[in-house]
């Protein structure tokens, strides 16, 4: 069928394509890592809450407390690539999203519910008892819906030849892209990636506890590495499934058809296997940090390669109907310079705030009389701050002792 693509916007793209692509890749990679932590974190929190031993509950609570912090940044770093995708692929993005408008827009309601449940779990978790597991599981299912719908949307948008037939079969925006053969491996690849990233996250905080709480730290570290390794091994297979499900003429770009795509493919494979080997080498080490950090770094490199591969796949699938690199451009250089300037200044301000928060966490740890209040995901102090907040929340608007103002 002939691809039906709306005409390009009459206004040219206000930046060089390479700049928008670069920003898309970087912000999307960060979004992926954060998204992996929320999706994988909610599932692992549920799994360990259901297991029910003290150490399991402790890990579940630690992950639950982290979720409300990771979520806002996940969304914010999702918004940025969405912006760049709309500039670069607007006619395809809007058309595909309209075809599946209802499930797509439902993401907003689902996210709001999931987000509030995260706060409930993070702030009130201790009071929830046996409900912790089910609530974490509901959060996971809601986030899974968001991920699955996105996978549908972004795969549909690369197939404009089906747009018109889908639309004419029903203009109510109730479609998904379930007929697409790559949907399942694509979603599973993302999902297992989420478990792998969260596994390393858990392992990292486990090794941080080795000194103060060697037994539980070692258990947490091993559990994290096990999640990471199992998910990664499975993902290698799922990756092959996805690759084979791609149309042959497109798959060629990863087999020498395009230098960038082939490089990303080979790099992704090498980095993923390296991350796996490094993590496994360190699993019984007395000082696992170097190996673990090696694994973390190679995993980040893997994710960057995956982002490049995904982008190359999209462009290859769209050719020749839509060639993003040949879009007309008229860069708004003054605005670009202002953005970059503010971006750097904003990052500096964020750095200052992060420094402050870590100083505050140390301060809190020092102030706290129950420095060993029990095991947690991390001893950074985050959980203690959350405990105080949850106490304040328990009292509603009216409870709690009056305390002197700070710094007065």
């Amino acid at each position: 069928m002939i691809p039906i693509i709306p005409p390009l916007d009459p206004m040219p793209v206000p930046a060089p394509i390479w700049l928008l692509k670069g920003l898309l890749w970087v912000t999307f990679a960060i979004h992926l890592i954060l998204m992996n932590l929320t999706l994988g974190g909610s599932l692992m929190s549920a799994v360990y809450a259901f297991k029910g031993k003290d150490r399991d509950l402790d890990l579940s609570r630690g992950l639950a407390r982290a979720l409300p912090f990771v979520m806002p940044f996940t969304i914010t770093f999702g918004v940025a690539p969405l912006l760049f995708v709309q500039v670069l692929y607007g006619p395809l993005f809007y058309s595909a999203s309209i075809l599946m408008a209802t499930p797509f827009l439902a993401i907003i309601g689902v996210l709001i519910v999931a987000y509030y449940l995260m706060y409930l779990l993070g702030w009130q978790g201790d009071r929830l008892g046996k409900l912790q597991g089910p609530i974490a599981a509901v959060i996971f299912l809601l986030l899974g819906y968001v991920g699955f719908t996105h996978v549908n949307l972004y795969s549909l948008m690369t197939d404009p030849s089906r747009f018109k037939a889908i639309y004419l079969s029903g203009p109510g925006g109730l479609h998904m892209n379930l007929a697409e053969p790559t949907i399942l491996p694509r979603f599973l690849h993302m999902f297992l990636g989420a478990l792998a990233v969260t596994g390393l996250f858990v392992a990292y905080f486990g090794q941080r506890r080795l000194k103060m709480e060697p037994e539980i730290g070692r258990w947490q570290f091993k559990a994290g590495v096990t999640w990471f390794a199992s998910a990664t091994v499975l993902n290698l297979g799922i990756g092959v499934w996805w690759l084979l499900a791609i149309p042959r003429e497109t798959m060629i770009v990863f087999m020498g058809g395009s230098a960038l795509a082939t490089g990303a493919f080979v790099g992704g494979l090498v980095f993923a296997i390296s991350a796996l080997i490094l993590a496994l080498l360190g699993i019984n080490s007395l000082k696992p940090l170097p190996m673990l950090m090696g694994s973390v770094h190679t995993l980040i490199a893997t994710i960057l390669c995956m982002v490049l591969m995904r982008d190359a796949l999209r462009d290859a699938l769209l050719k020749p109907a839509y060639d993003v690199w040949s879009l007309p451009t008229a860069p708004q250089w003054v605005a670009i310079a202002l953005f970059l300037l503010l971006f750097v200044a904003g990052l500096a301000a964020c750095g200052w705030l992060l420094k402050l928060s870590s100083r505050a966490a140390r301060e809190k740890a020092a102030q706290s009389q129950d420095g060993n209040r029990g095991p947690g995901l991390t001893d950074s102090g985050l959980h203690r701050v959350s405990t105080i907040d949850s106490q304040a929340m328990k009292g509603g608007f009216n409870a709690g002792p009056n305390q002197p103002p700070q710094g007065s």
Binding site: P72, Q86, I112, K164, V385, N398, N402, P404
Partner: protein, 509 residues
């Protein structure tokens, strides 16, 4: 036309209205409430007031839960929604303002991090550092508003951009500053109102007495600045939008609702909370919030309706037709210009089906076919296809800001057929006033603001008026040919003769 149109059974207008109103009600609080937090914290510090500090900590929790979760996600929701129901205009805006949005994103990132640090470090950071974090939050939040206001005001008053296509002209459009002032004042008011809401839960009577008065200042004092700021904003509107203030009944109804609700908010805050702060309770604070929400909904609805018939004034029509494509589409026809229809030509067999498709493309952004808000079917009762086709073909001449019909005459006839199929089969009155309403009232008033007929028919006998009606298309080629029967014509002529003879009840000629 260029994009598929999402068929929303209850009307896509409602989607954006609900999401936008709720978002705006929280996002303006996110700015004004941020300033309230740091200002009140400084006040607590100056007065060594631990009760106030304690209350502020709890108020911060509400602030985070409301702004960071609902505010932020519903903001993304607006973006999703406009892309779904107005992809053409969204694409235009993205292409013009991508870097403005990118800059806003930087401020938003800073906003999120700073409010989390602020909320979680009340007990751990030195007071002065904590207040600086609060100021960082407020500045970042206000800068988000400063940026987004450029994009929102541009849609209504693009000004010189229509000629220059320069980002500077687009951003600093004629409505930018007054709109920023109006929004800033609303932010301050909402900062105070939300504080009154959480304060109404407090059982500390001393704190309540003192803080209620302080928070009430945040409401009624900025409200004094609103009338001149709104007048300034309206002053920047192009003439064809200003006229809607007088002719669009929805705008007029919401204007009255706005006056009523905002007036009550100010009155209640001043006369009840400020003068007698001890009376602050949930029974005062909750109705205040409901009234404020109604005022905000009215403001948003007026703003949207004043922009008719455009999404970007002078550039993109509300039904996604780019202004620059109007002539080309008219020449080719709607069917041939749209990528998303199943038929390529109108035939007697497919007329109703084509009518439905064309209605979806050209009308469904604002209208429903049968029932609900702005439904057209009920207005078709007693009319015939020739007459409705003529109305459809001249939509831009109707009362409210309607975009032009860009299809061919046979396509207009197909839409007319579809609309008539959706008309309820009710008995038709041949009373003169009823005939006037269904055949003339779509475009005319007797002596009102829009196309009054009083002067034309004043002093004429019913027989003369009937003659005129019978050949109206000869006298004015813009008018549709009379297609009613003689009973209707006679009744209408008598009604007009009597109505136009009466002394003018006011209204512009």
């Amino acid at each position: 036309m260029n994009y598929p149109v999402w068929h929303v059974p209850f009307g896509s207008e409602w989607l954006i209205a609900i999401i936008a109103v709720l978002h705006v009600f929280v996002s303006h609080f996110a700015v004004g409430g941020g300033l309230f937090l740091v200002a009140a914290e400084a006040r607590a510090h100056r007065r060594y007031d631990p009760a106030l500090t304690d209350w502020l900590k709890r108020h911060t929790k509400v602030f985070v839960l409301l702004t960071l979760v609902f505010g932020a996600v519903s903001g993304v929701g607006i973006w999703f929604t406009i892309g779904l129901i107005s992809p053409e205009a969204t694409s235009n805006l993205i292409h013009i303002f991508v870097w403005a949005w990118a800059i806003e994103w930087v401020f938003f990132l800073l906003e999120i991090l700073s409010i989390l640090v602020y909320a979680y470090t009340w007990d751990t950071l030195p007071g002065n550092v904590h207040r600086i974090v609060g100021w960082v939050y407020f500045v970042a939040a206000y800068m988000s508003l400063v940026v987004i206001d450029g994009i929102l005001s541009f849609q209504l008053t693009p000004g010189k951009w229509l000629q220059t296509h320069s980002l500077f002209d687009a951003f600093f459009n004629p409505g930018y500053l007054p709109s920023l002032v109006v929004r800033s004042l609303i932010c301050l008011m909402l900062g105070g109102l939300y504080a009154l809401l959480t304060l109404s839960w407090s059982k500390d009577r001393t704190l309540k007495m003192e803080l209620a008065r302080y928070a009430a200042y945040w409401v009624w004092l900025p409200a004094l600045g609103l009338p001149p700021a709104v007048w300034w904003l309206l002053h920047t509107l192009p003439g064809y939008h200003k006229i809607l203030l007088r002719t669009n009944t929805v705008v007029q109804h919401f204007t009255w609702l706005l006056f009523l609700t905002s007036g009550l908010v100010v009155l209640l805050t001043f006369a009840v909370v400020w003068l007698r702060p001890r009376t602050l309770s949930k029974w005062v604070a909750i109705p205040l919030m409901v009234l404020a929400l109604a005022a905000m909904a009215s403001t948003e609805w007026i703003r949207e309706d004043l922009r008719e018939p455009y999404l970007i004034s002078g550039y993109t029509y509300i039904n996604q037709v780019p202004v620059h494509q109007v002539d080309a589409i008219k020449a080719k026809g709607l069917l041939a210009s749209s990528l998303w229809v199943s038929e390529s030509a109108v035939t007697p067999e497919n007329e109703a089906k084509v009518g439905e498709e064309l209605f979806r493309i050209a009308c469904s952004n604002c209208h429903l076919p049968r029932k609900g808000f702005n439904a057209l079917g009920p207005r078709m009762t007693g009319l015939d296809q020739a007459f409705v086709s003529a109305l459809v073909a001249k939509t831009e001449l109707m009362r409210a800001g309607m975009p032009p019909w860009v299809g061919r005459p046979d396509e207009a006839a197909a839409v007319a057929r579809y609309l008539l199929n959706n008309a309820p089969g009710e008995p038709v009155s041949n009373d003169g006033e009823a005939v006037w309403k269904r055949r003339c009232g779509q475009c005319h008033s007797i002596a009102g603001a829009f196309r009054p007929v009083k002067d034309a028919f004043s002093g004429q006998k019913p027989e003369d008026i009937a003659d005129t009606i019978g050949s109206i298309e000869v006298m004015n080629e813009q008018m549709p040919r009379w297609t009613g029967n003689d009973i209707e014509k006679t009744a209408l002529a008598r009604y007009l003769s009597a109505a136009c003879a009466a002394p003018a009840a006011g209204g512009a000629k």
